[in-house]
Every structure is written in structure tokens, then in C-alpha cells.
Amino acid sequence: MDTFGLLANGLLAALQWQNLLYALLGVTLGTAVGVLPGIGPALTVALLLPVTYRLDPTGSLIMFAGIYYGGMYGGSTTSILLNTPGESASIVTALEGNKMARKGRGGPALATAAIGSFVAGLIATIALAFLAPWVVKVALSFGPADYFALMVLAFITVSAAFGDSPLRGVTALFIGLGLGVIGIDLQTGQARLAFGIPDLLDGIEVTTLAVALFAIGETLSIASSRTQMKEEVLAVKGSVWMTLEDWKRSWGPWLRGTLIGFPIGAMPAGGAEIGTFFSYAAERRLSKHPEEFGHGAIEGVAGPEAANNASAAGTLVPLLTLGLPTSATAAIMLAGFQQFGLQPGPLLFANNAPLVWSLIASLLVANFMLLVLNLPLIGLWVKLLTVPKPWLYAGILSFATLGTLGANGAMSGRLGPIPFSFELLILLAFGILGYGLRRFGYPIAPVVIGLILGPLSEQQLRRALAISQGDPMVLIHSPIAITLYIVAAAAVLIPLYFRIRGKGAVLSQMASDED
């Protein structure tokens, strides 16, 4: 049977009422846990595993996939409304999305996130169905040296894309890189910069840092400047829905975000957040309204949101074809497969074809459900913004604290007889750092990006050099790496070239782009 026939059969199975019910349960739960910081889709699926043990395998896997997609949707809501990213993949969304919400454009921001996620989920799921075997071959050909080249490209494009001053952007990036060194070094097992504190051995948790810098830092900064309290926040300015202009500015980023997110999600060492960085950097370069970036540009929400949903579908490529989990949620879904005696991998498509195809088909169904569930809720969500500021920020503070406690807040520290949570201490300390950065005009996102990319690039570089026994030529040995370096060099040199030529309209255009 060809792929179309298999997919049609899968759709028939997914549309059975009990499977629809599982999908609905999954997306509802997923959206709920995505909205709550600290409780991510990984933890939810892990806790549900023992419960689903006696259910039928197709139904429970459909529910897990629904939770995964739902979590990706829900994460954007708190990022946009409360500037509190619930998971690392929605950090970038907070940058422009929250600015939009402050200007009374929360409705369009949520709508472009929801519709963008839908479009990306749809295209990426279809790509999963038709291209999986091919995509996985490409993804596997990425060696450590190629990943390192990809990280170099990310550093170069991303550090130029944030903030108005390159120097401040790079300073913030280096703070993040410094924080990324903390913890056990994977290659040697030695602790670095942990100062004998066991809680630091696993390094700084990305979501804790993000919530601290974004939410706590901002709360402190609002509390410290009383004059701002009088500024009126408009919940809704203009329409709650996207205008024609919004649609025109969104569809390009949706498609580009999908194109960037899907392959990066499929890479064994990719990860959803890296796709969102690339998408943001690309949109900023390509936008006709670069001056709006940093002040609520809709492209900066549309692109990254599409990218993170596309990469969620991308993650399923190596999971289903190789049995290779590339995210925490995928790892637990793998455990879910094994619970039913199924081994994802090269034989799964051959041995359990009906199950795989109904899973893929139910992803399409779940995607439709999410759109239907989320669009009507937007009107309700933006009401949150009319809450008086003191209440709103008190709420954000307790929300952020509870989320951190729930995710990693074991009472592992001890001060005399009183146990305390070390993770909360970290949250507060970085909250103060976030306040300081804001106070002196440093951008915040590069700190988080440094924490994510730093350890990845270091490990890949050292793996590449270890495999080649110290020969640096390995770094430019493969066509993939060479291509990536050429793109990176172009990203640096082309603006420089125009600047040196120094005359004509091009320069003034570039100058206003970069200001």
C-alpha cells in the first residue's frame, strides 16, 4: 500500500470516537500543563504512564502525542501574556509577544502563535508522514564537527539579532556562556564551578534561568520604578483578531519557521529552542519593519512559534524511525512504546504499521482540535491583562515560584534544622541579575541563549577533536560544515562590505536596520 493509502487508513482509525476522545483529553491536558510553568509535557506523560498501562496502546500513544503538541501550544500563552516562558522553546516568543501584549495587541499575538502553530504542525506532520526515512538519513549524517559549525552559525546570527547595541548583546551572551560552564563536564565527569554544592553539579536549569530573568527581573524592575505604575495598559487596542496587515506579515514567517524548525527537530542533537533562535534571527533580517523588533514585531512571534511546533513533529522522525529520543518528552514516549512491548526503530513501520499511521493521523486531528480549542479562548486570555498591575505582578511572582518548586524544587538545601529549596535560591539570585540587566539596558535573551548553546557547542567541539585525535582539520572536513561556515561568514561579511563601501542608499538602509 502506498503512503496515501496507509495515511487514509490511519485517519479512519484516528477518527474512531474513542481515539478522538483520547486526542481531546491529550490536547486539553497538554495545553493546561503548557500554560503552567514548571509542569512540562515530559513530566505529565511520565506521571500518566502507569495509569495508561492497562489501556490500549494506540489510544494512549495518541493521548501522549496530544499532550506533546498541546504543551507546545500552551507554552506560548504565558510567554506572551505574562512574560513567563513555561519551557525553553517559548523563550523567544516572550521577546516580541509580550511587547505586543503590552501595546494592547495580545489578541493578534496569541492568534498568530496559535494559527502559526497549526500551520507548522500541519505541514510538519505531513512531512513526517512522507519524508521521515529521507530526513532521518540527512540528520544522521551530521557529525560532531557539523553540529559545531551549526552552533557557530547560531552564535553569529543570533548575537547580532538581539538588542540595539552589539557590545551589550555580546556581554549578555558571555554571561550566559559563563553560566553554561557550571556543572559536571560530560566528557570527563569532573565538576566545574560547582564550589562543592551538589545542586550545582547538573548545571543551571534553563527554565529556571529564563523565568528568573524574564518574570522575576521584570517584577523587581516594575516594583522599583513607581512612576511606571501609572502607565495605563490597554488590554485590547484595535481588534482582538488579526488584521489583514497581520496576516500579510505572518504567513511568510510561519512557512519559514516550519522550514527551519522541522529539520532541526529531527536532528539527534537539535532541540526545539535552537530552531526558534534561528527563526527569530532570520525574521529580523528579512523583515520590512526591522525597527519594530524589540518593540513587538508580529513576525518575531509568528516565526518562532511555527518553528517550535514544527520541531515537535520533527522530533518524532528519529523517534519513530530509529527509536532515538531527541527531547525529554520523546524519551518518555519511548518508554511508553516499550511499556506496550513495542520497540520504535527501523522495524516499527514494518511490524506495527496500523499503529504508526493512526498515531500520525491523530497528530493531524489533534492539531485541528488545538486550533478550535485555542482561538475562542484568546478573548478570555487577554482579559488577564486588565488585572491591575500590583495584582498581576503578585500573581506572576507566585506563579513563577510555584512552577519552579514544582519542577525542580526539592527541599535539598538545609540551613540548620530548616530545609529549603536551592532552586528557589537560584531563581531569586538570577531574578536580581535580571533586574540589574534591565536597569542598565542589557538584553536578556542572549544570557539564556548562551546557557543553551554554550554547553552544546563545547561538547560537540571536544567530541570532534577527540574523534580526530586532536587534528583541527576535522572541523572543516565535511561539506555540511563548510557550507555552514560559508553562510556564517556571509552573515558577517555582507553587512560589513556595505558599510565599507560606505555610500549610497544601501548604507543608510543598513544603518537604520542595525541601529
Binding site: T28, L140, G189, P198, D199, L201, M411, S412, Q469
Partner: protein, 314 residues
């Protein structure tokens, strides 16, 4: 439904001990991993077999289980209802992290399950047998790159012991650590490294599909119905098995220890547990009492020696 679930999520996440909990099992790892699955399987079997009415599982992830272990010792001393899951990885992590708390600080009850490592090469590799690998390793140790789990973990230890057993200096082993068996699998499949060494479960599907060739397992005996030789059969006198155990709190009385051991024995002989072993593909390696204490001491000594040989522990 959502509210109920949320309440359950929060209460289990922040580890509030429930009222009538007979046992609280700590999994010193994030949800989803081997220790977590062991703890949750124990929970299910304890309850299904009526050995214990109400069992809670708490997750305290971090640093190869040593963060959970430290917290367990701190907070559960003398508590006869507290259990912790652990394993071979913890033995190494205690040493490499110079953890102030070790397995000597808890009351080991029994070894439960185990898994051997398997040494694999890509299907296109020139290495066909263990002898080929030994020859290549002896000729130029650095030219053999080994992909496996984190540094100082069971995969790294197995690679080091392999070199030592065949007479190659273990410090010259070119071991590339990946953050999990999955990433190591990608590196082997992509031909980025010479060999892969990790738990059999990580590579099983690719071995069956023919994408990877298994040279040998590190177990003491062949798996039922498997045509993969053990290292012993292939001429390398080495056995490395990654086992998982359960321990009780420090400071409990001998009577309490006996009672817990009896409950665990009921658990491992139950039909539910046997069913779990089968679906998860875990080997039964149940060992308790004085035999386990002796074995544990021997494993700790051997691990400490090889970690010094590799140079991870001074």
C-alpha cells in the same frame, strides 16, 4: 479531572509525604529513566500484590543520583517506610563527584534487575569480531573511538575494563561521552565513531534490523535465543553488568530491615513483577542479604580501581 490531576501532579512533584503511605520510594533521577521506571514498577507491583497499600514515588534528579542519595540520607534516617532505588551508575557517580554521602550511608536491601552492555559497530565497519577490535585497539588505541553514555558511567567503565583486560593502557582509551544511549546510537549509525558501547536495549532494534553489528555483550551468559556471544566466549575474560538495587534508610533496626527484605522478596517473586521484567526486557538479577553485601563491596572496589586507572578519580 484537570484539577484532580493537577493536584496529584503538584503533590507528587513537591514530594509531600502522604498520610497512610506504607512505602515512599525515591527515584534519584528524572521521570522516564531506568531508576524512575524501576521505582514506578515497584510501586505498581507492591500495590497490585497487596504487599503495601499506598506507595508514593518521588523524583529527585541530579548528578548520577548522588543528589537524591544525599537528600535521602538527610531526611529519612531511621524511617522504616523510606526506600531508594539506585544502581551501578551511582557507585561510579559517588566516586567521580566526590560525594560526601555514599552507598555505605544507606541500608542496601537487594539487587533487583540488570542489563548487560553490548559492543556494536556500524554494518559497514571493517571490524567483524572482537578479535578484530582487540587487534585495532592494540595497534593504535587512539584510533578506536568509543561512543557511550556519560563519563564515569557503566559504558565508560566497561570500555576501560575492556582495554585493561586485553592489555592496553586504559588511560589511552578514546572514549566519547554522549548524554544518553540515544545520542551515542546516532553517532554510531552515522559512522562518526568506531564502536558503540551501551545497554543492549539502546541498540537492540538496530541490531535486529541489520544496521548495526553486535560484536559481543558484556554479560555473564548469553541472552536467551540470542546469537550474540559474550565477551567471555569471544576470548576476553570480562563481565560488566549494569544492575539496579533498592536500599532502605540508614539507622533502621534489624527487625525493620528483615521486614523490608521480606516485602521485597514477596515483590520479586510476584507474578506482576515477572510480567514487568518481561515487558521491559530487564534481566532478573535478584540478590539479597549477606550475598548482596559482599557483591556490592566487590563492585565498589572494582569500580574505584578502574576509575583510578582511567584517570577520572585521583
Amino acid at each position: 479531572m484537570n484539577k484532580l490531576l493537577l493536584a496529584a501532579l503538584i503533590s507528587s512533584a513537591i514530594a509531600v509525604p502522604a498520610f497512610a503511605a506504607d512505602y515512599t520510594i525515591m527515584a534519584p533521577a528524572a521521570p522516564g529513566g531506568g531508576w524512575d521506571q524501576t521505582a514506578r514498577s515497584m510501586q505498581e507491583a507492591f500495590q497490585a500484590e497487596g504487599i503495601s497499600g499506598n506507595v508514593q514515588v518521588t523524583n529527585v534528579p541530579g548528578a548520577g543520583g548522588t543528589i537524591g542519595l544525599a537528600q535521602f540520607v538527610n531526611q529519612s534516617t531511621g524511617n522504616p517506610n523510606a526506600l531508594i532505588v539506585g544502581g551501578y551508575v551511582m557507585v561510579g557517580a559517588v566516586l567521580t563527584n566526590a560525594s560526601p554521602v555514599s552507598l555505605a550511608n544507606v541500608t542496601p536491601i537487594a539487587r533487583l534487575t540488570g542489563e548487560s552492555d553490548v559492543i556494536v559497530v556500524p554494518a559497514a565497519s571493517e571490524l567483524k569480531t572482537v578479535d578484530d577490535l582487540v587487534a585495532k585497539l592494540k595497534a593504535d588505541p587512539g584510533s578506536v573511538s568509543w561512543a557511550g553514555g556519560s563519563a564515569g558511567g557503566v559504558d565508560h567503565i566497561a570500555a576501560g575494563l575492556f582495554a585493561k583486560t586485553v592489555g592496553v593502557d586504559p588511560t589511552t582509551v578514546n572514549y566519547i561521552a554522549f548524554s544518553g544511549g540515544g545520542e551515542a546510537l546516532a553517532a554510531v549509525l552515522g559512522g562518526q565513531v568506531t564502536v558503540g558501547i551501551s545497554g543492549l536495549g539502546e541498540f537492540d532494534a538496530q541490531i535486529k534490523s541489520g544496521d548495526l553489528r553486535a560484536l559481543a555483550t558484556t554479560g555473564s551468559a548469553r541472552l536467551e535465543g540470542s546469537d550474540i556471544p559474550t565477551l567471555g566466549e569471544a576470548g576476553v575474560a570480562l563481565v560488566v553488568e549494569n544492575w539496579r538495587m533498592v536500599a532502605a534508610a540508614p539507622g533502621i533496626t534489624d527487625e525493620q530491615k528483615t521486614a523490608i527484605s521480606a516485602d521485597v522478596e514477596k515483590l520479586v517473586t510476584s507474578a506482576t513483577w515477572k510480567q514487568t521484567l518481561e515487558t521491559k526486557g530487564w534481566q532478573d538479577m535478584y540478590l539479597s542479604g549477606a550475598d548482596f553485601d559482599t557483591q556490592l563491596a566487590a563492585d565498589i572496589d572494582a569500580t574505584s580501581a578502574i576509575l583510578k586507572d582511567i584517570g577520572l578519580v585521583q
